[in-house]
Amino acid sequence: MPPLDCQQVLEHLEAYVDGDLDETRAAAVAAHLEGCAECHADRSLAEDVRRELRALPALDAPPAVLREVFRQVGEERFRPPPFRARRPAWTALARSAVAASVLAAVVAGGGIFLSLDRATVEPAGPDLAQADPEEVARATEEARLAFAYVAKVSRQAGLEVREDLGESLAAASTSGLTRALLFLPQPAPARPEDGEPERDRS
């Protein structure tokens, strides 16, 4: 190995100090250090850094912190965390969109469901003829997409998507988990949650 220059040595100093360099390279570094005061000083610094870091003490959490933790834990044992209550942000947005569409519907002479002064209940059957075909087409696509996802996830869960998927699900729901196993190709060990009965493998 050709002799190393200062920059190369400085690159490898930490590894050298840790003994992580292979023999050849370590020897080359050592050789350079012998003849170079600057790098020799850096090597001392590298060793000091390591030594001082290792000398820093581990620290215990202040007792007050732990006391507070246990206090809160004590409270929470009897009060399960609530579901995060949030108003869906789109509600406000939708209402203004509704207002806009009400206007549009009335102006266009359509207004299947809507009138300016009050919300009308939709007629007994939806009036497909008066609905915006684009909207309906989009909604149809969305509905298909939703069911496609149902199918996809069911497959991923190992449920065979068969004609009797429906039957299997129905059976599972009314007679407990035992029969659910009929359509799971492999056992799927799941971690039991609070209060959740362990899967019956009989």
């Binding site: 579901f83 509704v98 969305e142 199918a151």
Partner: protein, 192 residues
Amino acid sequence: MQRRILIIALLLSIPVPALAADEEPSPKDHPGYFPLEEIGILDEEQLTLEVNLHAPMLKLVAAATRKADPDFSQLVEGLRSVRVRIASLEGLDPVRVRSDVTRAGRWLRERGWQTIVRTRDGGEQIHIYLREIDGDIVGLTILAVEDGGEATAINIAGPIDLTRLGSLARKLDIPLLEEAVPKKPTESEKEP
């Protein structure tokens, strides 16, 4: 990783049900309803796909597809709502993700939903719940979560004909799904 954002016509599909909801019972009161938006990890900002369909529009969909696809039409006909949220979990702490999923499950079980499927396979969890009243299935909720990938949540409220759902699922256009969603990038190499 960039994902194509596919936010489907949120505004367009809302107006009808939101106003009609003044007269119709609120979809949220339906026993099969589950508030997907309250699951923290399905925050608006992280959504890559959202579907929000309610009864009036679903009736229109049913009417529009009655001739061409009667099975689909009948399945959709009586539904109160069909909702989907898909969110990216990139950068989210998997612990928090698991915690949100657990709480959702608890919420459902406290309200009488039954767990039908709960699997965990590597970094992927899938939970499927059904709400049943007097022998009828009135709600289906699915939560699928992939560590570092995405979370999919589906809630269908209304009388669900599971047999029809099953047969539909079997012949559903899976290509439809593959077109709509960008291909998953290959898994980054796992560390030794």
